[in-house]
Symmetry: C2
Amino acid sequence: MEQPKNQSRAPSAIVFDVFGTVVDWRSSLVAELTTYGQTPGITADWERLVDAWRGAYVPSMNRVRLGEQPWTKLDDLHRQSLDRLVAEFGIQGLTETDLCHINRGWHRLHPWPDSVPGLLRLKRRYIIGPLSNGNLSLQVDLAKHGGLPWDVVFGSDIFQHYKPDPETYLGACKYLDLAPGQVMLAAAHNDDLAAARANGLMTGFIPRPTEYGPHQSRDFGPEQDWDVVASDMEDLAARLGA
Amino acid sequence: MEQPKNQSRAPSAIVFDVFGTVVDWRSSLVAELTTYGQTPGITADWERLVDAWRGAYVPSMNRVRLGEQPWTKLDDLHRQSLDRLVAEFGIQGLTETDLCHINRGWHRLHPWPDSVPGLLRLKRRYIIGPLSNGNLSLQVDLAKHGGLPWDVVFGSDIFQHYKPDPETYLGACKYLDLAPGQVMLAAAHNDDLAAARANGLMTGFIPRPTEYGPHQSRDFGPEQDWDVVASDMEDLAARLGA
């Protein structure tokens, strides 16, 4: 195999953070909820709800990671947070069917425009798959919905651990029968990459400076000398010779 | 969703037996080994070796299933059987590199001619994935090698169980977040389908009457009233409205 450009060594597989790195969760959810709320005439500040919902994401996983709550898959953590926020925001008129539909909005997020073209290029040369905190069924639905051309799909429920627990990064390597140094994590989040590097994986950074909309406060650029720093998914493919 | 032809209910996902059902392991291995042996001039009855190797498959998994051997992934069971058979057959001159390469022949099996066209059709309408006794990395390599367009990839190492243990069929349903009745197993083997049905899954039979070459002794036709009986993978797609 040719050496990719600007790289002294190439991975055999690339695993991807998904929420924020591959799909644009914020715009997808805000657009869907705004449209969804119009029909039954439910009034809410959907943008604020989405931001608060995402704000509950890491704390909810940390309760599981710290053992305060038994293993709970992300769909169920999302639902617990949604129920709490709907009450806090005083949103009226949502039925159980509505709440289920809204919660599954996380299964219908849109890829960033460069994600599918870049992944299709990377797939020609590398094994590619998500390494996300989403559960397997969520990842499968996202791929069907957005046309993500994965070769393998990891869900946090397979590992019964959430990132940044080492069991996730090392579990993916084990199932791929590859050493950590043969696997690259591609992510838009420096903390995810730092954990992957600490476990011996290669690292690829893609900035997603609009992930959090007007509330973005970090991850505008690389904070370490990641193995590859790309401008988007297609640039990542180019830099990896794909 | 329209009801598929000849079906009172449709699955949401279809999982597939792989060795024999999707890929032609016998012809692939015999052809590869015959070619491989020519270069170093290693003399062996490769066809007989392949048949004996496959003959060791179920007994080797049963040792794990019955607890006589701790969990061992299929790549390693294949290697244990290969080492024993090479000695028994008195095959001379194989290096460790040769043995590794031969063992990984199971990662390079060719799909039957109708498999990829049929799977591409099924993928448009259903979630599709392997439910095989092969380990995850073997399934990923088979898909890359043969262009199998899976949406999700299950390996027996995820379940730490081999079929027909219920943990495999039910584990796939759990990760897909589907009830067993929403998942179909498609297989060329009546015993695999019987175990899937016993666990509540839907069943689809495809005959592969040349799987074992001249040694085929069974599975020429359906032995129960499986939910769908198709002539090949494209016919399965047609019968399922895909």
